[in-house]
Symmetry: none
Subunit: 184 residues, 4 copies
DNA sequence: GATGAATGAGAATTCATTCAT
DNA sequence: GATGAATGAATTCTCATTCAT
């Protein structure tokens, strides 16, 4: 099993899958994904052994992408609130500017095709954030806080999308809620 | 005249669908649902014109069920915090004692088969709660608060399920987070 | 097996079947026919044991109807040409003013659901016409002539429908062709 | 690259469809057609997007086949009667030696699945014949004559099949009728 | 007798995957 | 390695017919 030749092609498949899954869910057919990726039906299976593997790898890529975005330019030396604010803004920005990725991740998250192993690996991305949050003295465990952070940011993005006029207000309100909940 | 439609059978189908969708998502086949409901494949379609209609009606039933549970024994005269606490407890209880309903609703919520009309009708259930929450002076709009409440309770139930030993702690921490976020 | 109560209902079913079959062919569902006849699905089967029987009886009724129309006011004493002309006019008139019956009969005629027995009985209707035609000295057998008459009149009606402006011309040309073919 | 579509397989499907439709009409199931064509059920749909498309393409192929047969060895320089006779003989021969094609075409012709576009294209085949016939001074329009020719030949073939002993007589009588009708 | 819910055997079509080219 | 035709199980939905009401 030589490594597949073209990382470019692999990314094209993943990108096409993201779009397809965002719209129709994990039921998106491999044929449609192949067409969108401008790749033949068979080629998908030289890059991913099965559709389930494609799904799991996409899930991981998206989590990784989100994690990378979240911690980019992370101000490690800043105060707790500032760092939390920074993470919040990155999270919202990612969700808001990447609707397809955002929706695809939601679909994948509820799918039974994603293995527990993938879920764990995906959550690992939030470890650093957990550390950050554990500094805040709160009754809630770090892992739980991380999950809440994700859930809140997702709902916030939903509302920003639903009411674009009040996007900034929602973004601020969402963080305020989070911060007060965490530390208030 | 003739045999009347049996509400019992309709409920059996919805219950079977709930279980099936909870495990495999909206891709659950009508054939499997029929078998689980102890009904013939064709019968599904005398109760629901299409699978999509079944999905939408189930979504509505679940929302309704949740709403009813949430507001059962609602202490209208009590203080704000007590009323919020009451709602929170009902919400958690519903999710925790009805894992299938809980998961099915999650699957349906992300599915593109649920029409905007159904979503609106489903959200209407939360109107009363919105009223409750709007009393609390907070920067967040009532609708947004309702959504946050739902999201938080879902995550809380997730963690209660994941770590049964700390179920009560999670439940309390979840409410504390919500209350502080709302009013803190 | 008491005789079904209502001849009226029976006719309603046959009429509805005629329309349905005219449009979608013998695949027309009994449910649709029942609805159109303003009768319940089950009732169809108290008047006709099976769908095939309905089809066969309808075929016979239509043939009978056509035969009756064809020989109505038949000028038994007139000359051969006049009598032939009379039959032709009745035939064309029937087809032209009863498009649904006309089309339904075409559909039934090519269907394998019509039994040989029904076909024979249906052809019997043309016996009298055969007698008429056999007077004309021609190489063609009476039965063959009858069939040709039917085929020609059908095509003529088709063209009258397709080109309504020239309906009368087609009608005349059709008869001219028939008469010359027969006697020329 | 990859396996090319096999014209052989396409023809096998069309041939199987011809037989199936000849016997049970356009209701012939794709599954049965596939089996008869020794092809898997799915394969039908790589050659024809839908069953309706299969039906329309088959209709066109049959018309084309008939047209080709009709004009094969056409004696363009011969006298009118001889040319007409030639066409008649080819028509009868085609119908008589290809009962399945003959019946399938009849079924397709009355089906509402055949689009107007297909019908037009199918009729185009008779254009050359129309030209031939228009030479004969007759009251009937060329298109109408073509239709009559088709109808007469079909009935003739029917009778030849029904009474094989008199096949030749019927064939001759049919032409005599046609010729007299046209020119008499 | 009339009704229409119940049934389950098909129906057309889709799809992940394999494999000949 | 890339391609896309081939496959057949699985899917949603339809339908003639039966039978409880």
């Amino acid at each position: 099993m030589a490594r597949p030749l073209s990382e470019e092609k692999r990314q094209a498949i993943l990108a096409a899958a993201t779009d397809a899954i965002a719209t129709v869910g994990v039921a998106a057919s491999t044929a449609k994904i192949a067409t969108a990726a401008e790749v033949s039906e068979g080629t998908i299976f030289t890059y991913f052994a099965t559709k389930d593997e494609l799904l799991n790898q996409l899930y991981l890529e998206l989590k990784d992408d989100l994690g990378r975005a979240m911690l980019a330019t992370y101000p490690a030396k800043a105060g707790l609130r500032e760092r939390a604010h920074h993470v919040w803004d990155r999270l919202i920005e990612w969700g808001h500017t990447n609707p397809a990725k955002n929706r695809a991740m939601k679909q994948l998250s509820v799918s039974d095709k994603i293995t527990p192993a993938s879920r764990n690996a995906g959550n690992a991305v939030f470890e650093e954030v957990n550390n950050l949050l554990s500094e805040a003295r709160s009754g809630t465990s770090p892992a739980f806080c991380g999950a809440i952070l994700e859930a809140l940011s997702e709902k916030t993005v939903d509302f920003m999308r639903r009411e674009p006029d009040r996007a900034d207000a929602h973004k601020a309100a969402g963080f305020a809620f989070f911060w007060k909940g965490l530390t208030g």
